[in-house]
């Protein structure tokens, strides 16, 4: 392991390896799915991400490359996540880590991956810093980020008449960032922000905040929070007759699993942005059916779809490169255009941002839903080059 003997033994091998063309380290490509398997985001990523990863590996024509899959639960804790990542990289010789919801964990893994020259494909985390000031030549950010959410939802809503806003924000870094980004978009498009209230994370009861939002008479109540906070707020908004009273709720980070947990009668009319919906075309539908069969009937969220897409592209790059050195594979992934059945055609930018179209969706009324998970109406499609933050605005040191 780390004993002096093994370092010397490895030296001639290391020399040989660098002389030869890039090689697959120990003959096998090891993919590690690190997600939240048991807590807040387990339905968004979790076991479903592992299922998606398995499907991606099975669907890819590997042509002689051996691929192994590991998975672990980071419990939403940066220290657990970073321990597992270190151990995976140092001991288990994992080549790439995938998924990682929860920005704090993702940022930690981003750092470790960079130190060790491996690869990191983020699907679950939201922080746009991952392609901004924390960008790294070893990381690619898939699926979504806070900028895309704020712009997609904010832009589209203001343009369709929602020009006065009131924010209910979770008082922590993610919530504040989401609020800040969305407010900027609203103001840029000529809207007004009539007020904001910050609530503690994991507040059970939103009645007080909803009351304040109701009193402001803003047309749109923006929920700058996620997970249980969002669903609780939506549920209680229904109780207080907010939507019936003429105001609309805008969820800034909502997933298919959240809508499933709320039920259509409470969630109907909610508008938000996602980058994947299972009912877009035949390919996505086919994927969703296979996925649900392997995932206890639960349909894929955009995070899980992102895991599939990211691994597919990764394997493509590994095959082209005939090697799995982290930094080199990431560079190759940025060279090759992406094309998979779930996100369609797209590209990966130099700052590590994967570009694909985004969709503004509205939740259907219960009467409009014809089958399981038939929840969304697509209101608008935002093309890939407009959905994400422009390269020049990110502050990523890799962008010259």
């Amino acid at each position: 392991m780390f004993s002096n003997r093994s370092i010397f033994a490895a030296a001639p091998l290391a020399v040989a390896a660098s002389l030869a063309q890039a090689q697959i380290s120990d003959g096998v490509v090891k993919i590690g799915v690190l997600s939240d398997m048991s807590s807040l985001y387990s339905d968004i990523g979790g076991g479903g991400s592992v299922v998606a990863a398995r499907m991606a590996i099975a669907d890819f024509p590997t042509k002689g490359i051996k691929v192994e899959l590991l998975s672990a639960d980071h419990l939403n804790k940066p220290d657990v996540g970073s321990s597992i990542a270190r151990q995976w990289y140092d001991v288990d010789k994992v080549d790439v880590i995938v998924d990682v919801p929860t920005s704090s964990v993702a940022l930690a893994i981003n750092q470790i991956t960079r130190e060790k020259g491996k690869a990191f494909l983020v699907s679950g985390a939201a922080s746009s810093d991952l392609t901004g000031k924390a960008c790294s030549p070893n990381t690619i950010h898939w699926t979504y980020d806070t900028w895309m959410l704020a712009n997609g939802t904010g832009n589209a809503i203001v343009k369709t008449g929602g020009d006065s806003w009131y924010f209910i924000t979770a008082d922590y870094a993610f919530g504040l960032a989401l609020e800040r980004d969305t407010e900027a978009v609203v103001l840029k498009n000529g809207g007004k922000v009539l007020g904001k209230v910050r609530h503690p994370l994991n507040a059970q009861d939103f009645s007080s905040f909803l009351l304040q939002a109701q009193a402001s008479k803003a047309k749109i109540i923006g929920l700058a929070n996620a997970g249980g906070d969002t669903t609780n707020a939506i549920k209680q908004a229904a109780e207080f007759g907010i939507v019936k009273g003429g105001q609309n709720l805008a969820g800034l980070l909502v997933f298919l699993s959240d809508i499933h947990g709320l039920g259509l009668d409470k969630a109907q009319g909610l508008i938000f942005t996602e980058t994947f919906y299972w009912d877009l075309n035949d390919q996505t539908r086919g994927f969703a059916r296979r996925f649900a069969a392997a995932n206890s009937g639960k349909y894929p969220t955009m995070v899980q779809a992102g895991v599939y897409s990211a691994i597919t592209h990764y394997l493509k790059a590994v095959t082209a490169l005939k090697g799995d050195d982290g930094t080199k594979v990431i560079a190759k992934m940025k060279e090759l255009p992406t094309d998979d059945p779930l996100f369609g055609k797209g590209t990966v930018r130099i700052d590590g941002r994967a570009l694909h179209p985004a969709y503004l969706v509205e939740v259907k009324k219960p009467s409009e839903s014809k089958g399981p998970y038939d929840y969304y109406k697509i209101r608008a499609t935002i093309p890939a080059d407009q959905a994400f933050r422009p390269l020049s605005e990110g502050g990523c040191p890799l962008v010259k």
């Binding site: 007080s208 304040q212 109701q214 609780n232 947990g261």
Partner: protein
């Protein structure tokens, strides 16, 4: 008219909301106070039992088609019985030991119950519909009050006062209180003390489950719904005076109101205000506001 920059209308609205939250605090701390006051056990499982109450209502609805009103009666019984089984099998063995072991046991049980539910049901939450009879609400002028929330206040006050009455004013309550102070003597009078203790624990648990059913339509039914709430409820019980029934009821409602006010004037602190008050109370009156030194 404005008070401290907030229009009176909005203020009354917030106070009313605070009262509603206070109802939950009161119900939950009542159960805890009953169990602690009479049995000297800190029931860390209380949060998990509250969660089981909500889930039980959900199961009754989806598996047996039993609606909300029946669930209000059946759930406390069902979860209460589970509580009594826990007490007989596990807690009873710990009475001879330091009371802290009871705390540790219930803590472990809470971990198990919450972990199992979470493995099975995830954490996104499960929808439970508002009962039709209580849907909608009334516009009170200063706010729109959902009927269900009004019902919560009413039910909570009734249950709290009924419990207080039973424990402080009836003969059964007197036996219970005597049994805590001197079990041997009371046993010598022919009263089955262990059975009373089991029933009392079951009753405290039933109160938690009742609160869970009340919560199911308005808060997301999810396995972790009791986990952070329990610590707030502990603070309420400590402030009220750990064994005092009336103390928990009054403190529960009062804290709901204070928290409601905090949400208006300084919402970021609404989580901490209860603990700050607890620290202050402990400095001035360590036994709690209504408690007696033990």
């Amino acid at each position: 008219m404005e008070i401290f920059g907030i229009p009176t209308q909005a203020l009354f609205g917030q106070l009313l909301i605070g009262l509603i939250n206070g109802s939950f605090y009161a119900l939950l701390s009542l159960g805890l106070a009953v169990i602690f006051g009479l049995l000297n056990i800190i029931n860390f499982t209380h949060g998990a039992q509250y969660m089981m109450g909500a889930f039980c209502a959900y199961f009754l609805l989806t598996k047996l088609g039993i609606g909300y009103w029946w669930a209000l009666a059946v759930t406390p019984l069902a979860v209460g019985i589970i509580g009594m089984v826990i007490e007989r099998l596990m807690l009873a063995r710990l009475y001879k030991l330091d009371h802290l072991y009871g705390l540790l046991l219930t803590f472990g049980l809470a971990l198990i119950i919450q972990g199992l539910f979470r493995n099975e049901y995830g954490t996104s939450g499960i929808p439970y519909a508002l009962p039709q009879e209580l849907a909608g609400g009334h516009n009170l002028g200063f706010m729109f009050l959902p009927n269900y929330r009004a019902w919560v206040i009413l039910a909570s006050i009734v249950v709290c006062l009924a419990t207080w009455f039973m424990i402080e004013k009836t003969r059964l309550g007197a036996y219970l209180r005597a049994a805590t102070e001197n079990p041997q003597l009371v046993q010598a009078f022919g009263i089955n003390v262990p059975r009373m203790i089991t029933l009392t624990y079951g009753f405290g648990v039933a109160l938690a489950a009742f609160a869970g059913v009340m919560a199911a339509p308005i808060y997301q039914v999810n396995p972790l719904m009791g986990a952070d709430l329990i610590i707030v409820v502990f603070a309420v019980v400590v402030i009220g005076g750990m064994g005092s029934i009336m103390g928990s009821i009054v403190t529960g409602f009062a804290l709901g109101l204070i928290e409601g006010l905090t949400k208006v004037f300084y919402p970021e602190a609404s989580n901490t205000v209860i603990f700050i008050i607890m620290a202050i109370v402990l400095m001035i009156k360590p036994a709690g506001l209504f408690g007696t030194q033990r």
